[in-house]
């Protein structure tokens, strides 16, 4: 004779298995779980009713019910695993995307290439302990020329064709658009005592016809370091490190004698032409070298002009053109592109 509970367990088992076979998604499976394994399921009612059964029946029904519960739980987890697997397969095999379609557009902004290169230049010096100082673009003749040893009627004024502001004092134009950032040497030293270690970026202006290598507005970076024990060797070390950071560790660097009225000894620094690797090409005038900055030891008279003790202090100064560096770095052949601001150009950087 079969106990009615065992009969019922058999029915539950058959029905549960039949229904489970038809389950095809997680939601139905959860419903199945609640129906057959939940708190209010028939199986659970049987298990909860075990306590009221006689010992022998309890033993038989209990064993069968627990076995069924284990079996259903096992089937449930198998089915869950199958469904997850099927879901993964559905994604994987669910359809082929054309990966060559364009991405949805982001609105991309960019900094002007001169800003980008200028920042790299400044970063290189800042990491060597230089601080950034800025000053006026409209300057007095005194700062731009006189104080850096370029008096009126000095032939070196030919090196800087000047745009003068239409303001007359004592029958002369005392105000101008600075032709270089060197007046910042004076302004900085007037404001602080050694040790000085600064870089000063900014716009400069020349009265100059434009062509692929000349632009009347350009950006320069001035550098100045003054202290008790600074020599040409420090100048070389600092600028050498700068050149290699900006143009790559493999670049060769060359210093040669050059003349600027506000330094003595004067120098300029070239790197081996990155376009032809120093073999000689049109960009480097077949010399293999490209001049990137002018430099030198600050002239003792310049130090004296700001009241420094020129016996005690020495220093070096340098100036470089940002556009020129950008041209070298990006292979740009026409400097006028920078300030034409054609988006087709700007968006390349």
């Amino acid at each position: 004779m079969t106990l009615p509970q065992l009969q019922e367990l058999k029915e539950i088992e058959d029905k549960a298995k039949t229904e489970l076979a038809a389950v095809s998604d997680e939601e139905t499976l959860e419903f199945w779980r609640i129906t057959y394994l939940g708190r209010r399921s028939r199986l659970n009612l049987i298990l909860r009713g075990l306590a009221s059964l006689p010992l022998e029946e309890r033993r038989q029904v209990g064993a069968a019910a627990n076995r069924l519960r284990s079996e259903l739980e096992e089937l449930l987890s198998q089915r869950q695993a199958q469904l997850r697997e099927a879901a993964v397969t559905a994604v994987v095999e669910g359809g082929h995307l054309d990966v060559t379609l364009p991405g949805r557009p982001l609105t991309i902004g960019r900094l002007h290439p001169v800003t980008q290169v200028l920042r790299d230049i400044l970063d290189a010096f800042v990491s060597m302990g230089f601080q950034v100082f800025e000053g006026p673009e409209v300057e007095w003749d005194y700062y731009n020329f006189e104080a850096v040893r370029i008096p009126k009627d000095h032939p070196a004024r030919d090196m800087w064709d000047t745009l003068w502001v239409d303001y007359v004092r004592n029958e002369e134009y005392p105000m101008l658009l600075r032709t270089h950032t060197s007046p910042m040497q004076i302004r900085v030293m007037e404001q602080m005592q050694p040790p000085v270690r600064i870089v000063s970026p900014g716009k400069c202006y020349r009265h100059e016809a434009t062509d692929p290598t000349h632009e009347w507005m350009h950006t320069q970076v001035e550098g100045l370091a003054v202290d008790e024990n600074i020599s040409m060797a420090d100048l070389k070390g600092t600028l050498y490190e700068f050149a290699r950071r900006l143009f790559g560790r493999e670049r060769r660097v060359r210093f040669r004698c050059d003349y600027f009225p506000f330094v003595e000894p004067g120098a300029d620094m070239s790197i081996d032409c990155p376009l032809c690797d120093g073999q000689g090409c049109r960009a480097c005038n077949n010399s293999g070298w490209i001049e990137i900055l002018g430099a030198g030891m600050v002239h003792p008279e310049v130090l004296a002009n700001v009241g420094y003790d020129a016996e005690r202090y020495t220093g070096f100064a340098f100036g470089l053109g940002v556009e020129r560096v950008a041209m070298l770095r990006h292979g740009i052949e026409d400097i006028r592109l920078f300030y034409a601001n054609d988006l087709r150009f700007l968006e390349q950087f």
């Binding site: 601080q131 006026p136 745009l163 602080m192 009347w216 004698c257 003349y259 000894p265």
Partner: protein, 800 residues
């Protein structure tokens, strides 16, 4: 400065190939721009003699020249006015590579029929040979030029084209360059001979010289050479002059040019018979004095200019150019030779004043040594005696008020070490300086006394001596060290930090940075600024603008940005968002202008669709405002927006941006009239921010808001208000309630069923407390409070 190597070799042995020589000169400060090889492209060109010149049968201006090429004769058509029988010329055969005289482009000579006459060759000009730009006539070679010899073999030379820095006028001479070469290659210099026989009567009996303005003329030397025969200078001299890019004229004039190129001293030759009163006076020009110079130009002079005068009148502008009236001509027999020294600054002022630059003024303005004047005059007198069969008067008149002591510089070993970063051995210091013509005495225990040679007017202080040593030894030989010592304390740079921060934020937001010119013009400014603004605060003008397009220092960035936008719209559709951070220049009386860091942006075009294409939906005020909201949000500045007005913007579509009640910027739609003035036909929006006004407000650290552990209650509130009520007013009221953690506007609606003149605003409001879970009663009380206040203050009604 062009230095032919054949000439250079006269003063120094060259033991290096030209490339290496050029490299050493460049490294030592005399930059070799190019090394020219004259003759390289002269294939099929040879020296020929013109044996006959006949008229062209069909053309008045053309002639038929028959040339002898050494056994072979050819007849060609020649258009040059100066062709004559007996001349030695450069003759090009068909196939020669030449420079086209008209187009200046390289070309291959072809046979041609010119006005009916066959012409298979050409007599060449300097320009056609690539020697110079001269194309007014053919190149006439020296008489002894060997007929039939290839031109390259005859004229060819290696020429160093040097860039001489302004501090080295001594290197504006072949001898000066020879001194550099000698020091750089360890050989010695041969000075050119300056002695000659003085067979004439003493010059003192024939001429007097007076320097009236001694401040402007430290030295004046004069020599007299009589019985000269004016004619061409010898071929060797002509060749050298040609190679140095100077055209031969006559023996006397060529000698003055030759000596200037050779030793660096400018000279002038007067026809002595045309000097009145046998007197030379060096004086300032008289008011209203006028001189016709050698170039035929009438030069009005003034008191600041120095002239050379005879008893009657000015005969030369000192140091620049001689007068036409006393010019040496083919009839001249007596030469008054001048070799002087003039004040450099005065020469430069005069040169600028007369807009006249000459080879002489280019040298004088850089400061030549007065000592050089005597070297130059002796050398020139010798050559005139030799080449123009002249008879030199006894003696040289030498008025020398500006005689200076030789420059001696005491240089300590310590100074050299401090400047160069290197302790140089005493022997090396002495050898190096001596190789350059310096004297050097070691004074134990620690210093040198350096005697500077007269031609080195640029060496004055110990650091100049340091440079001499470094450049000859080689900058590459100096050690490389890192900066030592203390790093100076940091100083705050708030303005710069703000500006760079603004750049980053706007680029992050999707705007493109541009950098435009600082100079603009009144027309552009007048398009964007009201007339009274321009007349009351006129921008600074440049006295010598390059063009009227770039004449005024801008007082606003607007015009440049709109111009940049317009030029890009020609090839670009879709949204464009540009910004610039730059200075504007506000004039101040008697002071440098105030340079104000400013920001401006322009936005136009359609919003992009999924493909980045314009989707036919133009941007509006709120697209451009978004950039400012993002900017000020990132800067941590709580700005407010108010109705604003501006000349260039549409009324009612313009907002003023305020920070603590102060106006800091502006945003709005560019007035269509203004846009049209820049040829922009679509809607454009613009913003402007004065960054200086923000500086004191930024850089403060943000204070953190604690996060609540308790749940928020969220609900929507929609109200109806008069259209005049602003969203900002409503927002401020709601946010004032302490339990309101966030209130976000999510809809603005006008139209039925909302009554006319009214609008509906819908907010999503979140209530939350930091210290407990809010009860329904608390939330209800807060909501009632909000609605009561909205009703009281802005007449709001809860939308049903």
């Amino acid at each position: 400065m062009r230095v032919p190597l054949k000439w250079l070799q006269e003063y120094v042995d060259i033991n290096l190939p030209p490339g290496e020589l050029g490299r050493r000169l460049t490294m030592a400060g005399t930059e070799v721009n190019t090394i020219l090889t004259a003759g390289r492209d002269w294939e099929k060109i040879s020296v020929a003699e013109v044996v006959d010149v006949a008229p062209h049968p069909n053309a008045d201006r053309l002639r038929l020249a028959t040339v002898d090429l050494g056994g072979e004769q050819m007849t060609v058509v020649c258009g040059a006015p100066n062709v004559a029988a007996g001349q030695k010329v450069a003759f090009a055969r068909v196939g020669a590579e030449l420079i086209d005289g008209h187009t200046s482009e390289p070309t291959i000579l072809k046979a041609a029929r010119i006005r009916g006459v066959e012409s298979a060759g050409m007599v060449c000009s300097e320009k056609e040979l690539g020697l110079s730009d001269y194309h007014e006539g053919i190149l006439v070679l020296p008489e002894d030029a060997p007929v039939g010899v290839p031109l390259g073999q005859y004229l060819g030379d290696t020429i160093l084209d040097l860039d001489i820095t302004p501090n080295r006028p001594d290197c504006l001479s072949v001898l000066g360059v020879a001194r550099e070469v000698a020091a750089l290659s360890g050989v010695s210099v041969r000075e050119p001979p300056v002695d000659y026989q003085e067979l004439g009567r003493p010059i003192k009996e024939r001429l007097s010289v007076e320097i009236a303005d001694r401040d402007l003329c430290p030295r004046y030397c004069a020599a007299l050479i009589e019985g000269v025969q004016i004619g061409p200078s010898p071929p060797w001299m002509q060749e050298r002059l040609l190679a140095a890019d100077v055209r031969p004229i006559s023996n006397v004039v060529d000698v003055t040019n030759y000596v200037m190129l050779e030793v660096g001293q400018p000279l002038h030759a007067f026809d002595f018979s045309l000097i009145s009163g046998r007197k030379i006076i060096v004086r300032r020009a008289r008011p209203g004095e006028v001189l016709v110079t050698l170039d035929g130009t009438e030069r009005p002079l003034n008191r600041d200019m120095l002239v050379i005068a005879d008893a009657k009148e000015a005969v030369a502008v000192a140091g620049l150019m001689g007068g036409a009236a006393s010019e040496v001509t083919e009839n001249t027999t007596a030469i008054l030779l001048e070799s002087a020294n003039f004040n450099p600054a005065n020469i430069r002022r005069t040169s600028t004043g007369l807009k006249l630059r000459t080879d002489a003024s280019a040298r004088f303005e850089k400061g030549l040594s007065p000592e050089l004047a005597m070297v130059g005059i002796r050398r020139a007198a010798r050559l005139m005696v030799e080449l123009a069969t002249g008879r030199a008067a006894e003696g040289i008149i030498d008025v020398y008020p500006g005689k200076r002591r030789e420059t001696r510089i005491t240089v300590t070993q310590e100074r050299l070490r401090r400047v160069l970063g290197l302790q140089l051995p005493t022997l090396q210091v002495r050898q190096t300086l001596i190789s350059l013509g310096f004297g050097c005495r070691w004074v134990p225990p620690d210093r040198y006394v350096v005697r500077v040679p007269y031609w080195r007017t640029d060496v004055r202080i110990p650091d100049d001596v340091a440079e001499e040593l470094a450049r000859i030894i080689g900058y590459d030989e100096l050690p490389i060290t890192s900066l030592g010592g203390a790093i100076p304390p940091a100083q705050p740079q708030p303005s710069r930090e703000l500006r760079e921060g603004v750049r980053d934020i706007l680029a992050t937001a999707g705007m493109q940075e541009v950098i435009t010119y600082s100079l603009t013009n009144l027309d552009s400014l007048a398009k964007v600024l009201p007339p009274e603004e321009l007349s009351q605060h006129p921008p600074l003008r440049v006295a010598n603008p390059m063009s009227h397009q770039q004449e005024y220092l801008r007082t606003t960035l607007r015009a440049s940005l709109l111009e940049t936008l317009a030029s890009n719209l020609r090839h670009r559709q879709g949204r464009i968002a540009l910004f610039e951070v730059a200075r504007v220049y506000l004039p101040r009386p008697e002071e440098l202008p105030q340079e104000v860091e400013s920001l401006a942006g322009v936005v136009t075009g359609d919003r992009p669709d999924r493909w980045g294409q314009p989707r036919g939906e133009p941007v509006d005020l709120y697209d451009v405002k978004a950039y400012l909201v993002f900017l000020f949000g990132r800067l941590g500045l709580a700005v407010s927006y108010h109705d604003g007005e501006d000349f260039a913007l549409v009324p009612g579509r313009t907002a003023e941006v305020r920070l603590d009640g102060q106006r800091v910027g502006l945003v709005g739609q560019v007035h269509p009239r203004v846009a049209a003035a820049f040829d922009i036909e679509q809607d454009v929006y613009l913003f402007e921010v004065n960054l200086e006004t923000l500086v004191p407000q930024v850089g403060k650290p943000r204070i953190y808001q604690p996060l609540s552990r308790f749940p928020a209650v969220e609900e929507d509130i929609a109200i109806v208000v008069d259209e005049g009520v602003t969203a900002a007013q409503v927002q401020a009221i709601i946010e004032a309630f302490p339990l309101v953690q966030r209130a976000a506007l999510f809809d603005v609606y006008t139209g039925p069923p909302v009554a006319a003149g009214k609008k509906s605003l819908a907010y999503s409001v979140a209530y939350q407390s930091l210290d407990h879970t809010l009860s329904d009663a608390e939330v209800n009380r807060e909501r009632r409070g909000i609605l009561d206040r909205l009703s009281r203050e802005v007449g709001a009604v809860l939308r049903g």
